[in-house]
């Protein structure tokens, strides 16, 4: 295998891991956003806590893995991306703090101030995570500013109409994904509320995702490279088809199928973005000669080879025991049996 092939394989793994994280974060963060509104009493709160309780930690590890893989395989990207998007990444970090502690701490003391504070901490963290990731990755898709010193970002590179649309789209997709997830995992009043909500959110999410793709095509050069390979238009096309088709199982209360379609839609959304960026990892908006490509960013051949073997060995094992966990906790969570934190 040539070094070039190796780096392209790593670019695919890099995109794959981020996309898996975003799919899993979707239902996790969404559950946190819906938490204060879907659960009216403590038993229902326990149901929602338990619906993500055994899984959210592993889902967050996909983010840590995504960061670690960026560092290991594309150190140049890691250093530039993380130091350039300094403020958004710290905000994401703070959001991650409060999502985790809010979820785990809120029921560990009986004072109502304690419970309220951590509940809203859980909500805010959960809302900010998909919004800020949507914002950051939209900025990445749109391209960074550049001058003779290299890549940088300004306030308006991140905060602009396109970015806010991207952030909102990811929040809405997360809400849809989690409303379906809660419908699968729970029983009783909380499930009823979630199913009603899923039906209401579905058209809004679909609308936003369509708008996001229209904006991406008109406002950014992300999909320009697709002109040479028109077949690649299928990827964003599938993202739209999946979200539209999700409507059918949602209407007929086939939640497993609905969840699969929404997950596939989130996955292909990011796959479209990463494919559009290829071979850039950090595209420069104005002058493409400043873009950081995967070839410039890649680690050494030996390192990439060893890491590839390690990844091929361990990832299937990880996926196997995670499936085992989903099987162990496959039962419906009712008001009576909910354990919560």
């Amino acid at each position: 295998m040539s070094y070039e092939t190796l780096t392209i394989i790593w670019f695919s793994i890099w995109g794959l891991i981020w996309a898996i994280y975003f799919v899993l974060e979707g239902y996790t963060a969404g559950t946190g956003i819906l938490f204060p509104f879907l659960a009216k009493k403590e038993e229902e709160q326990r149901q929602l806590q338990e619906s993500i309780g055994p899984f959210w930690g592993s889902n967050e590890v996909w983010l840590i893995t995504a960061g670690g893989v960026t560092f290991a395989a594309f150190p140049e990207t890691y250093g530039t991306m993380f130091s350039t998007f300094y403020i958004p990444l710290y905000l994401i970090l703070f959001a991650l703090f409060f999502r985790a502690t809010g979820l785990e701490f809120m029921h560990k003391s009986n004072s109502s101030l304690w419970k309220q504070s951590w509940k809203w901490a859980f909500f805010s963290g959960s809302l900010l995570i998909p919004f800020l990731f949507g914002l950051t990755f939209s900025a990445l898709f749109r391209g960074l500013s550049s001058n003779e010193h290299g890549l940088y970002i300004t306030f308006s590179d991140v905060i602009n109409a396109y970015g806010i649309l991207g952030g909102s789209t990811f929040v809405l997709l997360s809400l849809l994904s989690s409303a379906i997830w809660i419908s699968i995992k729970t029983e009783g009043a909380v499930q009823k509320r979630a199913t009603l909500l899923a039906k209401k959110i579905w058209p809004i999410s679909s609308g936003f995702l369509s708008l996001f793709f229209i904006a991406t095509t008109n406002q950014t050069s992300l999909f320009n490279s697709f002109a040479n390979e028109p077949v690649l238009w299928l990827i964003p096309g599938f993202a739209l088809l999946f979200i539209l088709f999700a409507g059918i199982p949602i209407v007929y209360n086939k939640w497993g199928m609905g969840f699969a379609f929404v997950s596939l839609s989130i996955f292909t959304l990011f796959a479209a973005g990463f494919t559009g960026m290829f071979p850039n990892m950090l595209p420069a908006r104005m002058n493409s000669s400043f873009s950081l490509t995967l070839y410039e960013a890649a680690g050494s051949e030996l390192n990439l080879t060893i890491m590839l073997w390690i990844t091929f060995f361990i990832v299937p094992v990880v996926i196997l025991y995670q499936i085992w966990m989903y099987r162990i906790f496959r039962g419906k969570i009712t008001e009576k049996n909910a354990r919560g934190y």
Binding site: T65, P75, Y78, S83
Partner: protein, 455 residues
């Protein structure tokens, strides 16, 4: 303050916050896993209660370990991008391996234990805890492998203006890594066992749940008997190796200025950097200095004066941290073995003074283990990667304003989280076993009451 100092300050603060939680995670999980194993084998209810109680404290602590750990990963890119780009091959890969092999294992089986422990078999409970324990150890091994390279670079070539991997086997068998790994892991066992002994002592002093806490105390004591002896033994070999590969750090640890053979060890010593000598050095033990550094009473020890001054670490910080660590280590060793003496005479649980001391000894292992890392990391300065890259070259091209933003946020939020976490640990530690059942009943009746009211 400039960007370098601010970034170093932020790194120092965040790593110490992180390292308040990590050692207890590594140390306590072993004890909980042993309790689970005893429960699975002997089927006695008391062991299940023990695992539940100590496991609950473990989970509260574990949550903050994760939260403060993510900061560490982000930070290498946000604040140390020069380092990240230079060291991707060597530091990024162990970090990715740590996530793949350790973090997934820990989070999955932690979830299984928290949410499944009332539904799964005792054997599976024990298995889950051992998997978490395995995860914490793998995690420690890989992050220390990365750190070991920063102390003693091996298995690399300098190419394309960065460090590239040339020998994975050498990287993973770096002697520095393995000494540091065992020294750290064993020190974490002391943290775990002192934690269990302190909380048990608290309840024994109040004659609460005596059997439960006597058994817990005994388990902690046994682990501590082993660990407090092993830490200095491994530490000694670690020190000998350090003297070999990092003479500046080793010289600073003992404040040795002049090179020479047959160096003594001064029990009382105060280093004076300005005059490049010790203001006070007295109560010498002949040859011990050389023996500690070279395993040979006549061995040659390099003094600071034979090392270029720009490559010196901060001598007083390294010296005092090292001294204090050793001092606390000796106290912990003494306390533990005195405990064995009392246990043999069957007087340990009636000796209130001893129990009181063990209660208040809780901070000691935390302080010692953090001092140890201060020696390791401050002693490596001015290098970030020993002999290859200086810390000042590693920093990101960011503004001081950005760091003030992140540092302000980190200090504020970490302080809130730390207070909440300690509050919860104290609350549940004081409540004693079965406390969580109690809370649940209480809260259910409360909501039950509310529902009736609203009806």
């Amino acid at each position: 303050m400039d960007v370098i100092m601010l970034s170093r300050l932020q790194f120092g603060i965040t790593i110490i916050y992180h390292f308040i939680f990590v050692p207890l995670t590594i140390g306590l999980v072993i004890l909980v896993a042993i309790m689970e194993t005893l429960y699975a084998k002997r089927k006695q209810e008391i062991y299940r209660k023990m695992a539940d109680f100590w496991g609950k404290l473990f989970t509260i602590n574990f949550a903050l370990g994760i939260v403060t750990g993510i900061t560490m990963e982000f930070q290498f890119g946000t604040n140390w991008s020069g380092y990240a780009k230079y060291m991707g091959d060597i530091f990024g890969s162990p970090l990715a391996i740590e996530a793949l092999f350790a973090f997934f294992l820990e989070s999955a089986f932690m979830g299984l234990w928290i949410f499944g422990k009332d539904r799964i078999s005792p054997r599976l409970r024990a298995f889950a805890m051992w998997m978490v324990a395995l995860g914490t150890n793998i995690s420690a091994l890989w992050i220390i492998t990365a750190n070991g390279f920063m102390q003693n670079p091996v298995g690399y070539v300098l190419k394309n203006g960065r460090v590239e991997l040339s020998n994975f086997f050498e990287l993973t068998t770096n002697p520095y890594t393995w000494y540091m790994f065992f020294h750290t892991i064993l020190a974490c066992y002391i943290v775990g066992s002192f934690f269990v002994m302190a909380i048990s002592a608290y309840h024994l002093l109040r004659n609460q749940q005596s059997e439960f806490f006597q058994r817990s105390f005994r388990l902690g004591l046994i682990l501590s008997l082993f660990a407090t002896v092993m830490v200095p033994i491994v530490g000694h070999f670690h020190g000998v190796n350090t003297a070999k590969v990092q003479p500046a750090k080793a010289a600073a640890m003992e404040a040795i200025w002049e090179s020479g053979k047959g160096h003594p060890f001064y029990l009382l010593q105060i280093p004076n950097v300005k005059e490049e000598k010790n203001s006070i050095e007295t109560m010498a033990i002949p040859y011990l200095g050389s023996l500690l550094y070279t395993n040979d009473p006549h061995g040659n020890v390099t003094g600071l004066k034979d090392i270029p001054k720009e490559n010196w670490p901060n001598v007083p910080v390294v010296f005092w941290s090292f001294r204090l660590m050793i001092g606390i280590g000796i106290i912990m060793l003494g306390l533990t073995w005195f405990g064995l003496l009392l246990l043999k005479k069957n007087r340990i649980f009636t000796n209130r003074n001893y129990l009181k001391i063990m209660l208040y000894a809780l901070p000691l292992p935390y302080i010692a283990i953090n001092l140890g890392w201060i020696v390791a990391e401050m002693g490596r300065q001015p290098w970030i990667v020993y002999g290859l890259m200086k810390t000042k070259e590693a920093v990101s091209p960011i503004s001081a304003g950005e760091i003030i933003f992140s540092l302000g946020g980190l200090i504020t939020f970490y302080t809130i989280l730390l207070i909440a976490d300690i509050y919860l640990l104290i609350k549940y530690a004081k409540k004693g076993p079965d406390s969580n059942l109690h809370v649940e009943e209480e809260s259910i009746t409360l909501t039950e009451l509310n529902r009736r009211k609203s009806l």
